[in-house]
């Protein structure tokens, strides 16, 4: 199920229109060293089809092609969604943010004060789930 959008990628070829030329800052100009296109930066991108946004993610300029003076751009589209399991990969349970917020000094009264009938939903001593 999590594959639905998490692993989406697509490579497309873009023509050298004035808009694309400006977006890519004349990256095909081999004599340009300064202030040109920055290939390492994250570029947000979206794609619409029939008025419906079918893709939202990032765009990477993979390569450019120049044939008889005609330039084309090969770009990759990737979803930048990180799945929950990727986001928490390697995180140890004991280091979960907020756990130390439950620190407290136990006493006999505090202990018995947690004995409520309805679990985490109920009122009682200390922090509760939810």
């Amino acid at each position: 199920v999590t594959k639905q959008r998490g692993s989406f990628s697509k490579t497309i070829t873009l023509p050298n229109t004035p808009t694309n030329r400006a977006c890519f800052a004349y990256a095909y100009n081999i004599q340009s060293f300064v202030g040109g296109f920055q290939p390492n930066k994250r570029i947000r991108a979206a794609m619409w089809e029939d008025g419906v946004q079918v893709f939202s993610g990032v765009l990477q300029l993979l390569s450019m092609s120049k044939t008889k003076g005609t330039v084309t751009y090969e770009v990759g589209l990737f979803t930048d969604n990180v799945s929950l399991f990727k986001a928490i990969e390697g995180n140890m349970l004991v280091n979960t943010a907020g756990v130390t917020g439950m620190n407290h000094t136990p006493t006999s009264g505090h202990v018995s004060g947690t004995w409520t009938a309805s679990g985490a939903l109920s009122s009682g001593y200390g922090l509760r789930g939810g």
Binding site: M47, Q53, I88, V94, N103, P106, V111, A120, L127
Partner: protein
Amino acid sequence: MVYGVVDAAGFTDILNQGGGWFQAPWWRLGPSIYVKKMVDLIFAEAGFRYSSTFFNSAFFNKLVMPYAAGTMPVNLSGSNILAQSTGNVTFAGSTNATALFPKDTPAPFYDNPGYWVASSSVFSNPAVATRWNVDVTLTVSGTTAGRFGASMSIRNITNSTDNAVITGISFATNTQFTVRFQNVTIPANTTANIGFAVTAGPNFLLSTFSILSGATVQWTCLENPVGIGVLDMRTALPADVKQSDLLQDLQKMFNLQFMPDPQDPKLLYIEPWKDFYSSGSVVDWSQKSDENAEQNLTNGDPNAYTNIVFKYKDMGDYLSKTYKQSYPLAREGYGGRIFNTGNFYGKGDKVVETLCGTLIPASFSTDKIVGRTWDIDGTLASGTVKALQTGYRLAQYNLVEGQTEWAYQYGVSGNVALSVGILKMPFVSHIDNPYAPNVDLTFGQPRLVYYNAVNASGSPYAYTNNNLYNTYWLNYINETVSQEALQLELTMLLSSVDIYQLDFRKPVYYGGIRWRLLEIRDYLVGQMKPCRVTLRRILNLTEFAAKSTSPPRSDPSGLFNGPIDPDPVDPGYEPPVNPELPSEG
């Protein structure tokens, strides 16, 4: 969090711990963390949210992770005391003197627990007995130089007795010496001070003597049950478990389905499989299939497993070991379940094992049923209880009304435990209530339960088959591995609107019946080209309805209920004819 009664180190109802009565001191109970709380913290830290009826249900809110460290750690250094005398104090030679140490601040002197009354140099013990090493370092001057004899004591002021006495101390005047009282127990709610008396020199007594300024007393704590201080709740969690392990175990237990919101990938829809598909309306894809393209149909289980095994991790405690000894061929272990697919062509087993263990309840010499996590060296009657770290377990908490009161020890007075009788037990285990079992966190009924729960007429309470397998996995297994199971891969022409509105929760209508959408492959964005779609046929299975089974009470000693009748859902289950019941020794 909740301080459920979990026996991590042996309560008094175990024979070699006393037996015959049940008393739980508050400092032996550790806080269990609600699973819901941990899930919320994990999602918040990762920047995700969830929408889940199940996670917000009353049942899920009762799931807990029992205190992983077993018993609460005592920060002994938080109980230590170092105090100093501030001037020379002179006594007559025959005086039974009191050494004074009125300076417990500033550093390097300290009174961490606040037990030292500096103005009177009196140690005031808390409401439970404590144990100490006490070092007294002093220099004594006298009217006569030479070596002398002395005795020292830690007096019990409350009872006008001595907690500890050391006699025959030989010291030289004007020479610093140290006396150590080892392993001294100070009774609860008593006060104490340090006594010093010159007994005899080689030939004579000192006529007068002085304890010189700069003498110190160091109280080093060996045991102080109430000196827990601030409890670091990280000790409540297993140190070697990842956040993803918890979520994966929940997925394995409750057959959870995770689906990101198409428009908001940080929002996850999470429900058990049995509920996941009920929230979506059917989408009709009858006209989208390319009937000329190849269709692949797979009957039964595409993976062709012989068995599907659900099991909890074996935690190595006394009860799980006993169960394993009683049923050595039951490789699913206590609370596990083996489902035989009946597939002649099946090869190998699919093992779904959690990283967490379950918490097995038991009663011993009383009728008190609580979760137990300890192990034992030797027999139950005479062996030594080994407190184990409870480790990573998942259980449920319920406030259960027992048949008789249990003793909650809230303190000690002298040598007498101060307890209060409580009828309701904060019960933590895989079963919700041994006196009225309704929800069980095992995958399958244990063949034996280690407690004796009988009603007023002496009959054991019926056990429930409302467990994880039957409730969350049964229909899923039937739909995926039974002979009616059918998987279909076909070619469809899906529009961008179909993809935009894609929702795996919605059943797909095709060929006159409903299917579950499993996968879409080769969909090309921006191009109206066919793609491959995999569907699984929805079987019209009725929802599981729990039944109860009766333990026949074949244990001649009547100590345990069990073995339990077969689960009606699994008639192939064969309970042992002559189980080797664990004995009380």
